[in-house]
């Protein structure tokens, strides 16, 4: 009974490895990114196979979707800046000094050795070894939600999740600080047909995103996946020029970025009283608090991911210096 | 029992705390700076006098402060320490007067005096260090504080000299660190104890103990300018005269010599050192240094370099006296610590006056200077004669005890060495005196009518020359260096 599945696993594993190699070796960068996106989707598939649908969703939406969009946008920018936008293929667009092939082979051999060591270590590790299974199932009733992954993300290890939202915040602050002035490269604009399509699809995506968020309490899904899907809305809005960030929006944008962090952290601290420590939600209100946090975090994630895609901080074009990025 | 247990600390702080104040003073606040300098130096002399009285009465001062588990920062005021403190405190006062006169219009005075007091603080700290760890701290501080003084002129030559100085002394400091660590690991203490702390180690692991001796003596030998670690001293003579005078006649080289005493007497103990067979080689090395320094001095035309090589030679008298392992020689060594300081500082200040007043920097230019600057040259002459060992001057007293000690220790070669050295001393000093007093200046036009030096330059060498006379003539008076020395030796030899 297992055999067809084993063959499927072997094929999928082989395809993933082949795509990984291909995305690093193919000459055309655009093709590399596309191969990478396929690689990400197949990895997500593998994770579904490993009964990790939440992870698969997150990888597909964020690890592959958002990352892919970011990569494509960057590629577009680089091709614009280097004046190779009109070329047929996107061969390497950043300057570099060639590395001697000897070095590459030495590195590859070194990594091969590491891989061998890691594989041996992996095979030596206990299979289906110890884990948190018992602890989680024991604590689940007190968590306030039904879906274990959500319980871990927003209750058991909520501190990690808060810090993860902080990482996103740090990223958007860093990106705003890195890219300054107005963009030299016009953002890639979608064609007319696509614009129309986007407008039709947008409400549907919003619905899907909200559903994912809501479903997170009982079934796979949750703030990050929902946020990613909502971010897709933002991406489409930006791409179709339905929304153009203006300097005046910066204040709102900042508030949207920090909203999730602030609420999450504030709730964590506010519940700490009467012998409870931070993040220790009172059992009666646990579900409500978790949903509140999730909802607001989702908004922040969506806004942040969209801003990461857009890149620079919207600033007013006052004089020439601004344009010259100084 | 002590009415002012923190007295040693105060003595240290009189120069340590004043240094940041001096740094912060604006360049043009010369009067205030001079006032602070002289006030603190006088205060220090007074405090040292008080401390001497107390110590003579048998009061024990011991300040401790734990820096690492079991490892203490420790200040003590034993008689040996006082010998060195008294010397540096007194000469600091005198040299401060001299420096004020010398640098009257020079640049960077705030910096100069700041580091100058820091040097004195380091010297006092070296003297009062109650263990090798504390000694190491101040030993390094002395290196750091003298470096800016050596390169005070700020030109390429002085920077080169400064670099060489830094390399020698910091390498020495690093070796001292190694030795201190080894002592700590071997003996479990770094305390200075009369009779030493290494008896059992020397019995069980003689090789390790011998190695440690070599390392420690080598480390402090750098500052004591023992051959072959002496090369920095003549090069460092590019420093201004007061620096050469106080630091390279007193503070730095004496810190090295003092370190040799502490190591031999109070880390190993003279008996242990002898039993390890390390004193004889040390005495031999000292002998070589004495002769080598004198020989090199003869050929130097630059006055300060000649004096520097003379210092190389003379400081090793102290090492010799320690290494002979005879109480009598030890008296000579300790007395020489003081006497040589007085003599050499006189000569350096006089040399500085010649350079300032007449522009005379070389022996060959000294013709007839005695008549133009009689006071300065009289002081110089007195010190030079004392160096040669003319009775009843100070140098004679120390050489006499050294010779006696040599006989006492059965090392008759010491007599020959001392005689030879005195002969060499005469060979390089007498021509200078001859030129100064008995030759007419070759090109009379070059000599200005009256040298332009103020009393602040003229008085200090004369004062120290008088002290040379007094220390020799009244060697047996109470509180004379010699008397104090006997007190110290009684402790070190545990008699």
């Amino acid at each position: 009974m297992n055999d067809p599945l084993v063959i499927f696993d072997l094929l999928l594993g082989g395809a993933i490895i082949a795509l990984a190699i291909a995305s690093l070796t193919v000459r055309d960068l655009f093709a590399a990114v596309v191969l990478f996106i396929i690689f990400g989707l197949l990895s997500a598939l593998a994770w579904v196979r490993l009964s990790a649908p939440d992870v698969a969703l997150a990888e597909a939406a964020i690890g592959t979707g958002v990352t892919g969009a970011l990569l494509l946008k960057t590629l577009h920018h680089l091709r614009f800046v280097t004046g190779t936008l009109g070329h047929q293929s996107a061969l390497s667009v950043t300057p570099h000094t060639p590395v001697p092939s000897g070095v590459i082979w030495a590195n590859a051999a070194f990594c091969g050795l590491i891989t061998l060591g890691l594989a041996v270590a992996f095979l030596g590790a206990p299979q289906a070894g110890p884990g948190f299974d018992a602890l989680v199932s024991e604590a689940m009733p007190a968590s306030g939600v039904e879906h274990p992954v959500t319980a871990i993300l927003l209750n058991f290890r909520a501190y990690d999740t808060l810090m993860e939202v902080v990482v996103l915040l740090a990223a958007v602050i860093a990106v705003w600080q890195i890219e300054r002035g107005l963009s030299d490269a016009p953002a890639p604009v979608m064609g007319e047909v696509w614009q129309g399509f986007a407008r039709l699809v947008l409400p549907a995506i919003v619905v899907v995103g909200t559903y994912l968020l809501w479903a997170g309490a009982e079934a796979p899904g949750g703030a990050f996946q929902g946020g990613a899907v909502l971010a897709a809305v933002g991406l489409l809005l930006l791409l179709t020029r339905a929304y153009v960030p203006r300097p005046g929006h910066r204040g709102i944008a900042r508030c949207a970025f920090v909203l999730g962090t602030v609420v999450f952290a504030a709730v964590a601290l506010l519940v700490a009283s009467g012998g409870r420590v931070a993040f220790e939600y009172p059992a009666d209100h646990a579900k409500a608090l978790i949903l509140l946090i999730e909802g607001l975090v989702t908004i922040s994630i969506a806004a942040t991911l969209a801003a990461l895609f857009h890149g620079r901080e919207p600033v007013a074009l006052r004089n020439k210096e601004d344009r010259n990025d100084t | 029992m002590t009415d002012a247990p923190l007295l040693p600390l105060f003595i240290l702080l009189t120069s340590l705390l004043v240094s940041p104040v001096l740094f912060a003073l604006p360049e043009h606040a010369a009067r205030l700076r001079t006032g602070i300098n002289l006030g603190m130096a006088t205060l220090k002399v007074a405090l040292v006098a008080w401390l001497s009285l107390k110590v003579a009465q048998g009061v024990v001062y011991d300040l401790r402060f734990e820096m690492l588990p079991g490892l203490e920062f420790k200040l003590q005021a034993d008689p040996l320490a006082l010998l060195f403190i008294a010397l540096s405190a007194l000469l600091w006062l005198i040299t401060t007067v001299y420096s004020v006169g010398y640098l009257e219009r020079g640049p960077h005075r705030a910096r100069f005096f700041g580091f100058f007091s820091l040097c004195v603080a380091a010297t006092v700290g070296i003297a009062m260090a109650g263990n090798l760890f504390t000694f190491l701290i101040f030993y390094e501080l002395l290196t750091l504080a003298t470096y800016p003084l050596v390169i005070h002129r700020g030109n390429a030559e002085s920077l080169r000299a400064g670099r060489i100085y830094l390399i020698y002394t910091l390498a020495g400091g690093l070796v001292l660190l190694l030795g201190t660590l080894a002592l700590w690991v071997l003996a479990g203490t770094t305390d200075f104890v009369p009779g030493g702390v290494l008896d059992s180690v020397a019995a069980e692991r003689p090789l390790a103990a011998q190695l440690l001796f070599v390392v420690l003596i080598g480390a402090v030998g750098v500052k004591a300018a023992l051959v072959p670690f002496h090369a920095w001293l003549p090069i460092a003579m590019v420093a201004p005269a007061p620096v050469s005078a106080l630091l390279h006649a007193v503070a730095v080289v004496k810190a090295g010599a003092f370190g040799i005493m502490r190591v031999v007497y109070e880390v190993f103990g003279i008996e242990t050192a002898q039993a390890l067979g390390m004193t004889a080689p040390l005495a031999a090395l000292a002998g070589v240094t004495i002769i080598y320094g004198s020989l090199r001095a003869i050929t130097q035309d630059d006055i300060k370099k000649r004096l520097a090589y003379s210092t190389v030679s003379q400081v090793s008298y102290i090492t010799l006296g320690v290494a002979l392992a005879s109480p009598i020689a030890a008296v000579g060594a300790l007395a020489h610590l003081i006497h040589q300081g007085l003599m050499k500082i006189t000569m350096f200040m006089a040399a500085g006056n010649l350079a300032e007043g007449l522009g005379v920097k070389k022996v060959s230019q000294m013709d007839g200077v005695g008549r133009v600057m009689p006071g300065t040259m009289l002081a110089f002459t007195l010190a030079a004669l004392a160096m040669i060992g003319l009775p009843p001057l100070a140098g004679f007293v120390s050489k006499w005890y050294l010779a006696q000690g040599g006989l006492d220790a059965g090392a008759t070669w010491v007599i020959a060495l001392l005689l030879g050295s005195s002969l060499l001393n005469a060979l390089y000093f007498l021509p200078m005196l001859h030129r100064a007093w008995f030759r007419d200046s070759a090109e009379g036009a070059e000599m200005p009518g009256r040298p332009r030096i103020g009393w602040m330059l003229a008085a200090p060498p004369i004062t120290t020359a008088l002290l040379v006379l007094v220390a020799g003539g009244f060697a047996n008076a109470p509180f004379s260096p010699l008397e104090w020395t006997r007190f110290v030796v009684a402790i070190e030899y545990q008699e």
């Binding site: 696993d9 594993g13 490895i17 990984a20 995305s23 690093l24 960068l29 690689f39 990895s43 593998a46 994770w47 196979r49 490993l50 009964s51 990790a52 939440d54 997150a58 990888e59 690890g63 990352t67 990569l71 920018h77 680089l78 800046v81 280097t82 390497s92 950043t94 570099h96 000094t97 060639p98 590195n107 091969g112 590491i114 891989t115 890691l118 594989a119 992996f122 095979l123 299979q127 289906a128 884990g131 948190f132 299974d133 989680v136 992954v149 871990i152 990690d160 993860e164 990482v167 996103l168 740090a170 990223a171 990106v175 890195i178 030299d184 990050f224 990461l308 895609f309 890149g311 010259n324 | -």
Partner: protein, 97 residues
């Protein structure tokens, strides 16, 4: 041959490929891609560790960790890409330092 074995080795292979890429890739963008491969490899390892032979449910904790890892990685990627874009702009303009 169980899935955890197959995908575990797949993950390690992907990680290693990413490592080679991160060390050797000359193009800046491709280096980011390589790093992303590494992160997927690490994700595989954790997901595989969480896997239990059905009908047992997998351990949910590593799943949460991988989700966190994915979000962290997208943040880092965004910053790296922003740096790449900025650097390219600076290098293309002649009048900068």
């Amino acid at each position: 041959m169980t899935p955890d074995l197959i995908y575990g080795l797949t993950g390690i292979a992907v990680f290693a490929i990413g490592l080679v890429g991160a060390l050797c890739a000359q193009d800046r963008l491709r280096r980011v891609l390589a790093l992303k491969l590494c992160s997927v490899g690490a994700g595989f390892l954790l997901v595989v560790g969480a896997w239990r032979t059905p009908p047992m449910a997998p351990d949910p904790v590593p799943h949460a960790l991988v989700i966190t890892g994915i979000v962290v990685m997208v943040s880092a990627t965004a910053v790296a890409l922003a740096l790449i874009r900025r650097l390219q702009t600076l290098e293309s303009s002649d009048d900068d330092d």
